[in-house]
Symmetry: C2
Subunit: 289 residues, 2 copies
């Protein structure tokens, strides 16, 4: 097998990857080769364009470290993450809608007692978050593990400013009570640009796109016998709800963040300034076929 | 624009990238989104498979440094490099066939006088390389810059063992003489596995493929008024000619490496052991439309 030209090479590569023993590996490899070659045949890259693509992918990988995942940003901004999410949540009847994980989740968040302030002194408007976790049929899920994480009032996550703030913040795991309920204090997050000082930012600029996401609070909820739910709750009225750079907004995930005046507040607090509150009742899909 | 599902998201992303001002950027972005989404829709990756893909691409980028280009290896082993090469050399009538650049070219090679030994003391069977450079119509190209690079007798390039050997070796630029001819001494290269201790090696193993390339000498030839020629000359009889892991072999690029006994040899040498010789007459395509 030699002397391949643009008409014969695709089949040659397909024949080669068909040697994969694992059927799923074989299926994915074959599909990758067909679609990748079809893309190349359609755009007919020049040699400098091919070099630019190699350079782009290389820089994307090299931008990744324990605080930044540039390939997730690339997947998010090309709509791939939401597409994969949709494919994996076709039959979620009754369960809360899902959206992208995003690049800022940190494995193994610290557990906080219900009612804690998880903002650990970050400045911003106080936000009271409450909610409940139930199975899709409405049965409460006591003891569900609720992971919460969000940005500060300037739109930055803790991991983006960890040297300045000295540790993680605005992220926690709470354990739902006997009726599947949870509540916590934190600060109100802001809309923000995804990190755009790397290759993905260059791509967005070349594509004439802004890098903003509407303000939201992330949730990942685990409960025995149920699929883990990965989602956000968005703030109603945000100017970027219709142009989220990662295509993640669903109407079912938007909530009013109710405004309150200074004075008595939940969880025994008395506040000397205005605060907001957010409530969301989550429904999880039962695991299994 | 929100509430995207697997049927609506592709058009939403296409609409977004259509904001690109540059027409070529717009074309490439749109094609990328269409083909990438078609791939995802066909294979329907699970969330763990998506995570594995992110991890694979990240590791591929992080494997790259000034001595290793893992994304070029990925492009090569998926047949993309040869496809791009074929697309860019459709109308090369009369010019030498091209093949992949590979990951081991080093910019700005040192210039050696004609007849030099460029192996700089590496052990191996002496190889005399001679050739000529002409335009596709046969007109000699005096002063053409001939970049040569190849592996050692164990199949390793200098950059893969630079700590051990202390510098570059088996690579040089020669300037063709008044009749477009060049000659040099070096050592005979060997077939070798591409570096396979990284993600590309993992992919090849999963696909049931060996990582070998047949023995060859790389050439990159520059001459005024002509397209730069990037090619190899392969050793006839190599066991991997029909299964080159990067699909790069063309019959027109295979030559017998003639065997000679000890004794007088070209360029004023007298050898006390057997040596080989290789000759290739290169033809370059005139630049321009």
């Amino acid at each position: 097998m030699r002397n391949f030209d643009e008409n014969s090479i695709t089949q040659a590569v397909l024949d080669r990857v068909s040697q994969a023993k694992d059927a799923r590996q074989r299926q994915i490899s074959q599909a990758l080769v067909r679609h990748l070659h079809a893309f190349v045949k359609e755009v007919e890259p020049t040699m400098p364009e091919w070099e630019a693509a190699i350079g782009f992918l290389t820089r994307t990988g090299q931008m990744c470290d324990d605080k930044r995942q540039e390939f997730i940003l690339l997947s998010d901004t090309l709509g791939v993450s939401m597409l994969v999410d949709a494919i994996n949540h076709r039959d979620a009847a009754g369960a809360t809608d899902t959206t992208v994980l995003g690049p800022f989740y940190v494995q193994g968040p610290s557990e906080f007692p219900l009612g804690s302030d998880i903002s650990e002194g970050m400045k911003g408007e106080p936000l009271f978050v409450s909610g409940s976790v139930a199975s899709a049929d409405g049965t409460p899920l006591p003891g569900a593990a609720v992971d919460v994480w969000h940005s500060d009032e300037d739109g930055y996550y803790d991991v983006q400013q960890i040297e300045e703030i000295g540790g993680l913040s605005m992220r926690a795991r709470l354990i739902a009570d006997g009726e599947g309920r949870f509540h916590l204090w934190t600060i109100k997050p802001a809309a923000y640009p995804i990190p755009h000082d790397g290759p993905v930012g260059d791509m967005l600029e070349a594509q004439g796109r802004h890098p903003y996401r509407p303000a939201h609070v992330h949730f990942m909820i685990h409960a025995q016998g149920h699929d883990t739910l990965v989602t956000h709750v968005f703030i109603a009225g945000d100017k970027y709800l219709d142009s989220d750079v990662v295509f993640g907004v669903k109407d079912s995930l938007i909530r009013e963040f109710a405004a309150h005046s200074a004075g008595p507040a939940p969880a025994g607090r008395v506040l000397d300034r205005p605060w907001s509150s957010l409530h969301y009742d989550f429904r999880l899909k039962r695991s299994g076929p």
